[in-house]
């Protein structure tokens, strides 16, 4: 049976409460779709709509082409397996008996589990690394063991759709990866998987597509790199994070970063940074973490600063590798400069290729902070850069000694520009 799970503009909730509105989502056989979002946003409620614990009050949820409401509970349980977040086991069933409970929807009223059921149970227990626990009473097992047994129980249902509700939350790292690898295998074997993830890295790594549930609705669903951006993380989770690519797995990696002190983390205002060759990397990171809306002036692809700006998800002007800051780029940087509360020029050498970044700052001198004096060691443009710097300083640009002083100066400029700290 093809286990396609379809939410068609479904509105889901509990008696008297709507939790998630107008959800449209399709999970095809062979696919793992991940749901992420803050606690209480309604991810689990979306799953519960399938098992009947939550109600579909608008639109429809369809399972293998039929309306969910047409399914009897037993028939539904033959199609959909669920692995819950927490498994309760305050009773002395053996692990084997516990897994065999998953056979319930396949057994007739007075039929008892037979040899085939037992064989299936042992097979799924082997795959979930729980076979060695088979004769243990479940009320003596750890949360992680129980969670893997719950997966085995769900697999004993022989479902074509598998719902995981933070199903790896109690597992240690080893078993977490093991279980998700198994889920990936099962999906590759034709199972449709809809999984709520707590861990964003795992979500990115194991999902074919990701959706964000926040503020009562499901956002756009797409490949993890498109969905998981630093901006989304800040908006939805209120977390500053660096979104990069994991060097080994090649999947999106999210590194939440602690704010560098509560006060600096509350900063707001727009800051434009002129850098290159790695001179701006530290500053970009500091300002981003401090809470500023940071933009990067034109940078060449392949440049270290470009990589940092990209990882942080900053607004920027991209240049091809070894390309020049052309007129179009100058206009783009100038536009950024106009709206910036502060502009920082790092200790970058200027030559013909990047001179445009300096020219774009004309008229914004009073909001400009220059790091380090401009000496001959940075002059590769035949004097033109020196002239531009001199005129900026003459018009009111501030020259500071180092990055730290520049961050302080930015703090003063953004405060003066009437952008008070956003508060808490």
């Amino acid at each position: 049976m093809s286990g396609r799970l379809v939410y068609a503009e479904a509105t889901v909730g509990y008696p008297g409460v709507t939790v998630v509105r107008d959800t449209s989502l399709e999970v095809a056989p062979g696919e793992v779709v991940g749901l992420i979002g803050p606690n209480g946003a309604g991810k689990s409620t979306l799953l519960r709509a399938v098992t009947g614990t939550a109600q579909v009050t608008g639109g429809a949820v369809r399972l293998a082409g039929r309306e969910l409401a047409d399914y009897a509970p037993r028939e539904r349980a033959r199609t959909v397996g669920v692995v819950p977040q927490a498994v309760s086991a305050a009773f002395a069933f053996s692990a084997r008996e516990f897994v065999l409970m998953g056979r319930h929807p396949h057994l007739a009223r007075l039929q008892h589990t037979g040899a085939a059921d037992l064989e299936l149970a042992e097979r799924v227990m082997e795959r979930t690394d729980t076979l060695r626990l088979a004769d243990e009473p479940v009320d003596t097992l750890s949360g992680g063991d129980l969670q893997r047994l719950a997966l085995a129980q769900a697999l004993a249902q022989e479902p074509s759709v598998l719902l995981l509700d933070e199903a790896t939350s109690h597992l240690d790292l080893n078993h977490r990866l093991q279980v998700l690898d198994l889920v990936r295998d099962l999906a590759d074997g034709g199972l449709a998987v809809l999984a709520v993830f707590h861990d964003l890295d795992l979500a990115a790594r194991f999902s074919d597509r990701l959706g964000v549930v926040a503020a009562g609705s499901l956002g756009p669903v797409g490949p993890p790199p498109q969905v998981l951006t630093a901006r989304l993380l800040a908006d939805v989770f209120g977390v500053r994070a660096v979104v990069g690519t994991d060097a080994v797995t090649g999947s999106v990696a999210v590194t939440p970063v602690l704010r560098e002190g509560a006060v600096t983390g509350e900063r707001s205002g727009r800051v434009l940074v002129v850098g290159g060759s790695g001179t701006a990397a530290g500053l970009l990171r500091s300002l981003h973490l401090a809470g500023y809306e940071v933009a990067a002036a034109a940078l060449n692809r392949g440049d270290v600063d470009h990589a940092v700006a990209e990882t942080l998800g900053l607004e920027r002007v991209d240049l091809p590798a070894f390309g020049e800051v052309d007129e179009a780029a100058v206009r783009a940087v100038a536009r950024m400069a106009q709206t910036a509360d502060a502009i920082v020029v790092c200790e970058v050498p200027f030559g013909r290729a990047n001179l445009g970044n300096l020219r774009a700052l004309a008229g914004a001198a009073t909001r400009t902070v220059m790091i380090g004096a401009f000496g001959p060691e940075r002059e590769f443009s035949g004097g033109e850069a020196s002239e531009l710097v001199e005129s900026l300083v003459r018009d009111g640009a501030l020259v500071v000694a180092d990055t730290r002083a520049a961050v302080d100066a930015v703090g003063r400029l953004t405060a003066r520009e009437g952008s008070p700290p956003s508060g808490r």
Binding site: P73, A77, M101, H104, P105
Partner: protein
């Protein structure tokens, strides 16, 4: 399941049945006049084959035997109901007496008794029916009340059961005061006794036990799944709402049967499933029949004690079960209600 399990299962049931038979034999034998096992089997076989009765047969066949059989039936009813409610509420402290169902059945029965005071013939149908309606309404009310705060937790359920129990007992007393002439017999009945035991009672309770036990016996898998919680049971294919209704109904039938013939007998439904579970584990396929037989044994022995300890004075059997059961209940509470 597997072949060895099936053999173990049959063996255990056989052992329990043998123990019940032994307990019944002892209970029939003891009394104001003691009779030996030979006399008992002789009297029973003569009664079955229709032979002429020997001298002591009347005591055995007309008095002791129905009383012991009724005790066994009532014990089986109460213990089975206890198993059902403990699974339904995932609560080891659930018991028809504590949940107020016995009081509800009692009120229903008392109303039926007084309403049919002049037409004794009707009583065998009307009293259990009244008890059934009373028990069912009570459990629905208690569950509603306990769920008012959101979740159906142990504390709410016990508090609601106690509160409703008090209210229903007050109503019962009111009915009794109003119909003063039947008060003495009703009071004695309310304390839980089997003194009025007779063959018609046995024939009335037997089908109620059979139905009340047969329904859940076809759904022991669902009963096991309910232990995982209602949500999980639903995920694994149990039609939870319907199943709960069926269980409440079957349980109410069992309680009504017990209360209609023996009044309010507490703690048998609480203790027996616990003791059985300790020995055979939580699987309802075994737990339910084993508890039914276990409840029968407990009740036969409790009634024997009630009759003989202070002979010739007879204590209502409800007092005996309460004297043993209340400390057991406290022990369960102290041990922590989270685990069974």
């Amino acid at each position: 399941m597997t072949a060895p399990t099936r053999i173990r299962r049959a063996t255990l049931i056989a052992v329990l049945l043998a123990a019940l038979a032994l307990a019944m034999l002892v209970a029939v034998g003891f009394g104001a006049v003691s009779v030996g096992p030979g006399e008992i089997t002789g009297a029973v076989s003569r009664a079955i084959t229709g032979e002429a009765r020997a001298a002591g047969d009347a005591v055995i066949v007309d008095i002791r035997l129905p009383r012991v059989l009724l005790a066994a039936l009532v014990g089986a009813c109460l213990a089975s109901a206890g198993v059902l409610y403990q699974a339904l509420f995932r609560n080891p402290l659930a018991d028809p007496y504590i949940l107020g169902m016995s009081a509800g059945a009692g009120l229903g029965a008392v109303i039926a008794l007084t309403a049919t005071a002049s037409v004794t013939a009707l009583r065998f149908g009307v009293v259990p029916a009244g008890a059934f309606v009373g028990a069912l309404l009570t459990i629905v009310l208690v569950v509603r009340l306990a769920s008012l705060r959101g979740t159906l937790d142990v504390t709410s359920l016990l508090l609601a059961g106690v509160a409703i129990s008090y209210a229903l007992s007050a109503l019962t007393s009111f009915v009794m005061v109003f119909f003063r002439e039947s008060m003495a017999s009703v009071v004695f009945w309310m304390m839980g006794g089997l003194t009025a035991a007779s063959w018609p009672y046995v024939f009335m309770v037997t089908p109620m036990l059979a139905i009340g036990l047969a329904i859940p016996m076809t759904a022991t898998r669902e009963l096991n799944l309910m232990l995982l919680g209602e949500e999980r049971a639903g995920e694994l294919g149990v039609d939870v709402e319907r199943f709960k209704q069926v269980l409440l109904g079957a349980g109410a039938l069992l309680v009504a049967a017990a209360v209609a013939v023996s009044g309010l007998i507490g703690f048998v439904g609480l203790m027996t499933p616990h003791m059985v579970r300790l020995v055979i584990g939580p699987d309802h396929r075994m737990l339910l029949p084993a508890s039914a037989i276990g409840g029968a044994i407990v009740m036969v022995l409790a009634d024997l004690a009630a009759r003989t300890v202070l002979a010739p004075v007879e204590i209502p059997v409800g007092i005996v079960t309460a004297l043993i059961g209340a400390p057991f209940f406290i022990w369960l509470l102290v041990r922590g209600s989270g685990r069974r």
